[in-house]
Amino acid sequence: MAEIVLENVHKAFGDFTAVRDSSFTIRDGEFFVMLGPSGCGKTTTLRMIAGLELPSSGRILLDGEDVTWKRGAERDIAFVFQLFALYPHMSVRRNISFPLRIAGLPRREVRARTEEVAKLLRIEHLLDKGVGGLAAGDRQRVALGRAIVRRAKAFLMDEPLGALDAEFRDVMCEELRVLHNRIGATTVYVTHDQVEAMSMADRICVMNHAEVLQIGSPGEVYDRPATKFVAGFVGSPSMNFLAARGGLPAGARAIRVNGSEIAIPETRAPLDAAEAFLGARPEHIRIADEGALRGRVFGVEYMGARQLVTVETEAGRLRVRAPNTVRVSDGETVGLDFLTERLSVFDAATDRAVPTAAGGANG
């Protein structure tokens, strides 16, 4: 069990900045997901916590102790790799017990703990098999077993489900979460899949271009994205952005989009830039006869109970998630109504959200 603190951690590879001056705290026992597109620095951050990479500057604290310059072996942290990294020349049992044997535990205890972990992961029947012939899911479990068996202070996982089939990923997602609830160890989980992040995380840290953009619960990240990038990256289909006119004073309650006024939650700070974006999630737009904006239906996708309607407006193309009861057809002109309380406004110059009464400012 441990709290992990990053203080101004910075990592550069030559001219390339992988992680820019990041500071955040991962709370004891929490399931912390680092989310972002590939190359955003999330894996580098994880590797620095593990000691596989040394930061160019900054400090990393593990349970209050400065471990920045300590070897991985001295940090008491377990790491699960994307490709599992099971030792191919060892059996399942030897793979799982590997960290214990290195630590020089008595043979009886190694055996007992290995079997306990195998039982927890339901792979006892595989213990004496080689790892070569295992199915991907079982390899995943063995890799997890090797991490759990040490009772390390924290688990670090680098896209551990990336190598699995889509259907199986859901199963493992759930299993991982159940396992976390049971063991309760601090877990840092890296992924580029926002669905995985949303379904598992206690808190999500969204990164892009080496920078931490937002840290918050899945709900916060989804409902009150701190930047336009976060808004677009989290949620599927992603948020609609409408070019809007900026220059709003604090306390504004509407924004001009292509000549029409659209009501927004009261802003708490002025928006000085001349241009802005209005962000609306597909489920926060309603198809109505009278709406703030009008457009022509461009396409309709059925998704079971709901349908995804693409509407071409003067301000750009919008995707609307509407119930199946609303009947629309291609080419029809419809009105669009926005759920005021759920809208976000972004400064086009900085991409940052404008704080509003709905809290669209990341606190």
């Binding site: 593990a50 000691g51 596989l52 070897r71 991985g72 072996a73 940090r75 942290i77 377990a78 790491f79 790799f81 994307q82 490709l83 599992f84 990294a85 030792y87 191919p88 020349h89 590997f98 960290p99 290195i102 630590a103 992961l121 339901r122 792979i123 029947h125 595989l126 070569g132 012939g133 199915a135 991907a136 899911g137 079982d138 479990r141 090797r146 040490r150 089939d165 199986f168």
Partner: protein, 337 residues
């Protein structure tokens, strides 16, 4: 392979497993040849093997012929086998008059008897055993060194940020770009100055240097194939970098090391030109020695053939012992584990 016919395995195994292994039951995998084509291919392979074996069989047969049989024309395919070639290989003999041989009394051993039939007596052992031992020491010694240094260098080139890495790798390769014998004269002069001429240490050093480029390049390929995650996992689990290399990476490099060792040994074992030039007395290896085994009235062909047969053995044995590793090694990880 999971048994597809078995009922769903105990809880915890993925349900996808049986479905995935099912197609393996099909009689013909894609890319697999049909019966007729396989028969034809087999015939070709056997035919080629027979042709390739003719010189070997010829040498082996000659080693058991008597000197007159070995130079008979037309060649004798059926002959009375004798160990005379092997005896001649290991001994030096002098021709004596019949009276002198008579005076020696009856021969003590079977090989003395064989020699006396040709009016000769054994004057002592030949230098073949020494030469052979030199070959073993120099061949295996240089192979060990080349593979040992090559493994360390390959690991470093593969894993660490080495300044001017590409240039260094090219430089190492460039030592192969001209025939080694082109530098024979400078090396000869250098060795004479350094007192390395005609020493086992000098020959080991030379063969190691020649083999090192091959060894570094081959082994780097093998290390590159091993994902870094293995060492990283071991390091996070409590090993030092060196321990991780020894206990996790080295076992996985076995196939590559075996393949590299065979290539190095074959070169060092067979090398003729440098051995001829740089060794004469002390450190002479078998290759320059065997062809100059002189018998009566020219080369002693059965003895030469016997020497060659014995000379072939170590490489054959080494290759057979390591054949499984070699096969995996040569395919270069093209087959996924």
């Amino acid at each position: 392979m999971t048994d597809a016919a078995a009922p769903a395995p105990a809880s915890g195994t993925t349900s996808a497993t049986p479905a995935k292994s099912a197609p393996r039951r099909l009689p013909l995998k894609p890319g697999e040849a049909s019966g007729g084509a396989r028969f034809f291919a087999g015939l070709l392979v056997i035919g080629y093997a027979l042709i390739a074996m003719i010189p070997l069989v010829w040498i082996f047969a000659t080693s058991f012929k008597s000197p007159p049989d070995s130079i008979a024309y037309p060649p004798e395919v059926i002959f009375e086998p004798t160990l005379e070639g092997y005896v001649n290989l290991f001994t030096s003999r002098t021709r004596q008059t019949a009276e002198y041989i008579e005076s020696l009394g009856p021969p003590q051993t079977w090989y003395e008897e064989l020699v006396r039939k040709r009016n000769m007596v054994i004057s002592g052992p030949s230098r073949f055993a020494d030469r052979y031992w030199n070959s073993v020491v120099i061949g295996f010694g240089s192979t060990f060194l080349a593979v040992f240094l090559g493994t360390l260098a390959a690991y470093a080139f593969s894993r660490f940020k080495v300044p001017l890495k590409d240039d260094l790798m090219f430089f190492i390769l460039s030592t192969r770009m001209m025939p080694p014998i082109a530098v024979a004269i400078p090396i000869y002069l250098m060795y004479r100055e350094l007192g390395l001429s005609d020493t086992a240490a000098g020959m080991i050093l030379l063969y190691t240097a020649v083999n090192l480029s091959l060894s570094v390049w081959l082994l780097k390929g093998f290390v590159d194939e091993i994902p870094r995650e293995y060492e990283e996992a071991a390091v996070v689990d409590g090993y030092t970098r060196l321990q991780a290399f020894r206990k996790v990476i080295l076992p996985q490099m076995r196939a590559g090391i075996a393949a590299t060792a065979i290539f190095c040994l074959i070169f060092a074992w067979n090398e003729y030109a440098f051995a001829l030039l740089l060794t004469s007395g002390e450190a002479q290896t078998a290759p320059p020695f065997i062809p100059i085994i002189i018998g009566e009235g020219g080369l002693d062909w059965p003895a030469v053939a016997a020497g060659t047969t014995l000379f072939l053995l170590p490489v054959v044995i080494f290759t057979v012992l390591l054949r499984n590793q070699l096969l995996r090694g040569i395919t270069f990880g093209a087959v996924r584990k």
